[in-house]
Amino acid sequence: MTETLGLLLALSFVISLLALTILIWAIANKQVHTPDADDARTIFEPGEGADIDYPDKPHHFDTARSGIDANSSSVVMWLIAAAVFWLIYGSLHGLAASLELHLPDLMSGTAQMTFGRMRTVHLNSVAYGWASQGGLAAVCWIIPRIFRTNLRMTGLLKLGIVLWNIGLAAGVLAIANGWTDGLEWLEIPWQIDIILAAGAACFVAPLIATAKNRNVHHIYVSGWYFLAGVLWFPVLFIVANIPGVHHGVEQATMNWWYAHNVLGLWLTPLGVGTAYYFIPKIIGKPVYSYALSLVGFWALALFYSQVGIHHLIGGPVPTWLVTLSVVHSVMMFVPVIAVAINQHVTVASNLWALKESMPLRFISFGAVMYTLASFQGSIEALRSVNTITHFTHYTVAHAHLGAYAFVSLVLMGAIYQIVPRATGKYWPFPRMIAWHFWLNVIGFAVYFFSLTIGGILQGLAQLDATKPFADSVILLKPYLEGRSLGGGLMTLGHVLLAINLIAIGFAKKTRETETENMVAAE
């Protein structure tokens, strides 16, 4: 049995490696159509793309006149409003949970406010409320643009948004009141998950229909990530939530297959796809080496989908399975480097644009964080490193580097870019955007370095049998306080976004009259 499973391990790795080799061979020998520089220009109209993308710049492809946003901008704005609501709700719960870890008697009066529940409401709010819906807003904005056709079945999309938010609200209420499925990332009770699954399913058909009716031949790279992601997520979500199938350790492997794939096959495609569209679009120049994006995409699918069991290193699961996930984690260097070359070289050769465009600043900062988070993740999965970091707050810092500094900042940039264009209004408080950026960057730096250093010290203390366990708790306290400080600054930044968003709702349409006021600039 053991030998058989050892072979399985090797087999999985060989399949992935073989698939990647075939892909590279096919590209080299022109067996598949290799995306080239012309394809990379799909996002531009002829003659367009020599200048930064300001909201008041006349577009060659006039989105207003072509009617492309006539029906999609309301869908996008619904998603953005809901996403920002959950961002604030989730941030406040995260901040409260963080405070509770160094002020344990601050909120101990009610069960709803205990750490185990506050933390869980935070995770579900930001993962499924904020990042998922913020990402879908970007998807619904970008898909009609790269396909040059309007969004199909918007009624179904709106139904999906309503169901998703009802399900999520019911889910976090359930968790706060102690009704949970008890698995990380899968806490929302499966009965409520039915509503969420129905909501998620409503997004699949409209996006496929839009892709089928596209007016361009080539599917731009963002489209691959988005179209694959909207298929991957509902499958993952439904399969993982079917009750009564899993128990014991087998349930734990399913748990981490799901949880890591929510990051790898859902939030990451949303973030990477969004960055792949907006970075070249805002700068006005196509990405650096478009052919590489094909390798980046398929290598992500092959390797990222099998890394989840690195959450159970040293645990009661088969050795071959852990090794499999460690190996695939390390292989993640391949897709990450491919994406990094495409995105960072494009930004690095156009640094002037970072001064001009606040949205670009958020998005390219996020893109750099994707590279760093992935490199860190690959190294963290090595057995020797994992022994120190596994059960510590180091992991929490890493999770926030990926889900926050990468995905969230990309999506915030996307929101700043999209909303003026979707509403025909300018941000009422443009300077607040810069404040938001710096609060988030500085807050995150404080957050990340506190927990990274604290986590390593915590791990080393726990590995030293001569030290009592208490030492690992006592030494951690100042770092937990640092996390609260960082988290507070981050939350403050989110409040600025919410203020701007509410204010723009009450603002008058000014696009036609105030052409000089360039919102995207500082």
Binding site: G116, H311, L312, G314, P316
Partner: protein, 217 residues
Amino acid sequence: MNRYLPLAITALAILALATLFLVIAPGMQISAQGPSQGLKPYTEAEARGRAVYVSMGCLYCHSQQPRSLAQAPDAERGWGRASVAGDYAYDDPHQLGTMRTGPDLMDIGDRLPSQAWQLTHLYQPRAIASWSIMPAYPYLFEHKDKAGPDDVVVKLPAQYAPKSGVIVAKQDALDLVTYLQGMKRQYAPPKDGLRDNGYALIAEKQRDATDATTASN
């Protein structure tokens, strides 16, 4: 890529492959092993207590998976031998955990079997350890003027005791403690139990290499 259908099929095939390797294959291997010999299903009170454990989110600070001595000194801390897949056969939802803000609890019933200790600690952890950052769970207890005949009174130092009356445990607190007391694996560890032996294998290789060097000298 210019066509959607091949993209969609390949993307889903890759996910199916990952599911085969990460869920189905290990699932078959694990269920073939069955429960560890000597492991008993949870009693009704333990199961109720476990539900309290799950609902309070104890998982987010406490793991239930001692590591092997080849990797970490968990056993030396009194957290018990390295666990194997069969030790969890009756767990649903599993509570392996990924965080040790607090200690591992796999064998807490062995280490701290006292009901009185556990109740005091749940009511106010800082009544026992001033450095503790664990949440207090006062809502699992009741403040009464006088304890009834069946009430379990919580022992508290003056600093944390009410000015008048007594603190008694609610059923949830008693069940949770019963669950914690039951967390002890007093059966012999199964031979060929499934677990990640990666660290032991590495240590073995290193030993062999050292032996080889010594021998050649």
